[in-house]
């Protein structure tokens, strides 16, 4: 009898499993969907690089057995930009959390989207800084209780799809981690897209966020997604704000074509330098 082996173990660093994510956390499901989409996409796995920042989701690069890069806090996109420019053949995937990409890495995020650098960003949004103990993050909805907002959050949150679409991303989608098949397909489309593509994955954080919103287990959050998730493809990203306990509008919001940074680079350089160019 063969030893028991999960079919995705070929793409996982098995010696590091079980991973550190809590029981009921949604990041593992997002990784499963990514691996499944990657296998279906038919990309050359030697030419795929996964870049992560810091945080719970920042651990993803350490668990995926591809060329992976665990970078400093918030700088995942900055490192990935360098990676892409140095080796344009690579398919660069950034797998990080909302605290890493949107808070400390916010400027890298909007400028990578503005330049339309050919990369795929998978942003796992759990509405707080989970790893450090559940503090208010840039995506925490108004009124949500966290360790640093015991009377409810007083700040307006970022609407990540709107931010990405306004900055110039060519593909913007949002799914909860409950909608695994749709999420998988969306990640596949994002991988196939030329330009800056963003997939936001809403994931439960039972230990630090859900517990304080009376969703004590991951299962409670999933039931909430099941009840309040509304699929609206092509919705205006302006209207997809997430309220505390409100509807979560999901779907593919933006899917357009635009020349990428490397297109402009190649065209401009060959025009300026003629046959002397690179």
């Amino acid at each position: 009898m063969e030893p028991e082996r999960h079919p995705m173990d070929d793409l996982l660093r098995e010696d590091r499993l079980p991973h550190i994510w809590c029981s009921g956390c949604g990041i593992g499901t997002a990784v499963t969907c990514f691996i499944s989409a990657l296998l279906k996409s038919g990309l050359d796995l030697d030419k795929v690089a996964v870049v992560s920042g810091i945080g719970c989701t920042g651990r993803v690069a350490g668990y995926i057995k591809l060329d992976s890069f665990h970078t400093t806090h918030g700088r995942a996109i900055a490192f990935a930009t360098g990676l892409k420019l140095a080796n344009p053949e690579l398919k660069v995937v950034i797998f990080s959390g909302d605290g890493d990409l949107i808070a400390i890495g916010g400027n890298h995020f909007i400028h990578a989207a503005r330049r339309n650098i050919d990369m795929t960003v998978i942003c796992v949004n759990n509405f707080n800084y989970g790893m450090t103990g559940g503090q208010v993050g840039p995506t925490t909805p108004v009124g949500a209780r966290t360790t640093t907002s015991p009377y409810g959050c007083f700040e307006h949150p970022f609407n990540i799809p709107y931010l990405a679409a306004a900055s110039g991303a060519v593909y913007v989608a949002r799914w909860t981690m409950l909608h695994v098949r749709r999420l998988e397909r969306s990640i596949g489309e994002a991988l196939a897209k030329r330009g800056f593509s963003l997939v936001e994955v809403i994931a439960p954080c039972p230990t630090n966020y859900g517990r304080r919103q009376r969703r004590r287990t991951g299962l409670d959050s999933l039931k909430y997604y099941h009840q309040k998730g509304v699929i609206k493809h092509g919705a205006n990203p302006r209207d997809v704000d997430i309220d505390l306990d409100g509807e979560i509008i999901e779907g593919v919001f933006v899917d357009i074509e635009k020349p990428t940074f490397s297109d402009f680079c190649q065209e401009g350089l060959s025009r300026a330098m003629g046959n002397r160019g690179p």
Binding site: H6, S23, L178
Partner: protein
């Protein structure tokens, strides 16, 4: 269900069936697979793994149609299925 005749293409038809495999030591007992299985094939077991979680067990293996939802939804890479096929039976 009773058919008035044998379907002509019955030789070519197979019903997909999943043989569910659970890696008990990886499970953290979140219960996603048990809750969302469309065929209610899985159930939380009484037994413990070495970390003290209750892994699921296959309650009704014949009900599985190999949809793969448990495999996709599991955050721990702890459940997968071996695809099998079943003959169509005419009563």
């Amino acid at each position: 269900m009773r058919y008035w005749r044998k379907p002509l293409d019955i030789e070519g038809l197979k019903i997909p069936r999943g043989n569910i495999q659970i890696l008990k030591e990886r499970c953290k007992g979140c219960g996603f697979c048990v809750e969302f299985c469309p065929q209610h094939v899985l159930e939380v077991s009484e037994e413990f793994n070495s970390k003290g979680y209750h892994p699921p067990y296959v309650k009704d293996g014949d009900g599985c149609v190999s949809c793969g939802l448990c495999e996709m939804l599991c955050p721990e890479f702890a459940i997968y299925r071996l695809e099998e096929e079943r003959e169509v039976q005419v009563l």
